[in-house]
């Protein structure tokens, strides 16, 4: 990009500088710094941290027919200095006792884990190929990987609906080729959910893998070969260990959101394909039980907090 074309007109820069300098003037540079730091921090704190506190609070309430449909946690009578705090742990108890919820958490983790593994197996050769290609081809291949990612997630899942349903394209082809007589049930199965997750999250697996593999020093592979390692040995002894940060990043980027995935099980899964995201949705929208939904969310968060922390730690390790 032509640098000159992008620089702001000097008059605008002057005005902006003068505006921001007003902040600087008040308490010197320190104030300006504090202002800049606090803007995004404040936004995140308000809209990404406090909400979780609110969710926690409501998970301790009872569902009521009211607006909003939950009970208040406390009662305060100013005249008599009377404060009653009522925390309902029933929602949590229900989660741990009812087989449905436990099943759903377990099944979500399982489906997410298996999908992540499949995505890794499918995505690794692709990322490897792209990383080893010459630079011209590389841009094209990367664009090919990224293009589906930029098209609507919802529409791509929808595309699979068209392919997998009983009178869908795949069944038509199978029957046309004579491979089967009657249509195979592919949609509304666990299989379809795995397929959907791998399909939509594949770019999230490929890109971090590609980044890690691209950074790999080619001379290391040559040195290994020179020292007597056959190609497959070089792969397992040198390439793979050095690609691990990328592998971890890709797996986390797929696993964590997949656990709470709603759209894919809703459109492609059976009614008994238990995924916790769907359970939460149904609790909220069908049962109108906000406290229950909140409790489900908090438990999900607790389960995911460790993997989420791993994401940042892995990112930092990669940059070293």
């Amino acid at each position: 990009m032509n640098m000159r074309a992008l620089s702001l007109p000097d008059s605008l820069v002057e005005t902006l500088s003068r505006l921001t300098m007003r902040f600087n003037f008040l308490k010197g540079i320190k104030f300006g710094r504090a202002a800049v730091i606090s803007v995004p921090t404040f936004w995140l704190a308000l809209f990404f941290f406090i909400p979780f506190v609110v969710v926690f609070k409501i998970s301790l309430a009872e569902s009521e027919i009211a607006i909003p449909p939950y009970s208040s946690l406390w009662e305060w009578d100013a005249e008599e200095f009377y404060l009653e705090i009522k925390l309902t742990l029933g929602n949590y108890l229900y989660i741990f006792e009812d087989a449905l919820y436990v099943e759903a958490y377990w099944s979500s983790a399982k489906i997410a884990a298996v999908s992540t593994l499949i995505a890794l197996l499918v995505g690794f050769p692709m990322a490897y190929l792209i990383a080893r290609s010459d630079p011209n081809k590389r841009t094209l291949l990367l664009a090919l990987v990224v293009l589906p990612f930029w098209t609507s997630f919802l529409l791509r899942v929808y595309a699979w609906m068209g392919l997998l349903k009983k009178n869908g394209v795949v069944n038509e082809i199978l029957m046309g080729l004579g491979i089967t007589d009657s249509p195979i049930q592919m949609i509304q199965t666990d299989f379809a959910v795995y397929l959907g997750i791998v399909y939509t999250y594949l770019p999230f697996m490929i890109l971090p893998l590609y980044t890690a593999l691209e950074k790999l020093d080619g001379t290391l592979l040559e040195a290994a070969e020179d020292l007597g390692a056959k190609p497959y040995q070089t792969f397992f002894l040198v390439t793979l260990p050095l690609a691990i940060p990328g592998i971890i990043a890709g797996c986390l980027l797929v696993f964590i959101p997949a656990v709470g995935e709603f759209v894919i099980p809703a459109l492609l899964g059976a009614s008994d394909t238990l995924m916790i995201g769907r359970v939460l949705w149904d609790e909220f929208f069908l049962n109108r039980d906000w406290p229950m939904a909140s409790a489900v969310a908090i438990v999900m968060l607790v389960i995911l907090v460790l993997p989420i922390m791993l994401v940042r730690r892995n990112q930092d390790k990669e940059t070293v």
Binding site: D217, T219, L220, E222, A223, A224, E225, D226, L227, G228, A229, K230, Q233, L237, V238, P241, L242
Partner: protein, 388 residues
Amino acid sequence: MALSQVKSQESVMTSTKELPLWKQDGAVPFLRIEGVTKKFGEFTAVDNVSLDIYENELFCLLGGSGSGKSTLLRMLAGFEEPTSGRILIDGVDMAGMEPWKRPVNMMFQSYALFPHLNVFENIAFGLKREGVNKKEVKERVMKMLDLVQLSHLAKRKPNQLSGGQRQRVALARSLIKRPKLLLLDEPLGALDKKLREETQFELMNIQEELGVTFVVVTHDQEEAMTLATRIGVMNNGVVVQTDEPHDVYEYPNSKFVAEFIGSVNMFEGRVIEDEVDSVTIASKEAGCQLFVNHGINCSPDQKVNVAVRPEKIRITSEKPAQTANCVYGYVEDYAYMGNMSVYKVRLYSGKEVRVTQPNANRKSMERFTWDQEVYLSWDEESSVVLTS
């Protein structure tokens, strides 16, 4: 006499030891490069190179960037296949043989140490690929660590080592496999001056002790002169001269080699007398006749260059007795370097001549200053006539 006869006479006079392999008739070369060419599309990196390298040599491929030396090295290692020609190591044709099968190991310019393995594991890597059992691996690695003085660092990772230490790990890693041929790609390039000197001698010692044949690629001519048993000077994919360091320096076969190694003064001239064992050249640049005491193959009246090294020239304020090989000018610049003085003398023909003079005695040496008029002279055997 022809130049080659002069050379062999000299070496007979100076050495009483047994003749080195490359001078013996009928000696079989350990590494034979036969007519090897490598093309990348339209570009020819290595052009029909043939070299015979003998066992226990420390052979240096010397050249600038783009000379083809690194490509040739990579073909020896097996990372590139020649477009045409053969490479034979110990009599075995290497065609199509992959790097992990060759009895060759390479020390990379960047060392290429595996960052996820520690020093011990790095060195053990090649041994493990050979299927050596654990106990023996440990023994041999520990011995090698002693040899390169890194035993105390066995558990460290490469990023915790200094440049010199990393280099020793890289060397140890290659040597432990007892390769027949060790290739070194600019081994001293990343080291600072003092370390470089130390490592130069270390390398030579290790090579002699272990009896491995080394092929070193470098662009540093001082390095090549110090390390090599023989030097192969490369330019534009071609090996222009292969000789012992002494001969490459004293008897370069072309203008390119003369100018690449050390500094040299070149006088352009025309052959006026061509005898069997001498040549007389008329040179406008020199402003006198140049007389050289060896014969050359040339045609009468041919344009040639006469090369004279700065240390071979005598500088005097009085006119010397000789008429040939004597030029006249004034001191344009000089530098006192402690062990020697360097003079830049401008001849009245306009040519600049570089003269170096060791400061051998304190009293009897003449010292010259700016603008002083001086005579430069040299002996008839001190120069070389170059036809290319």
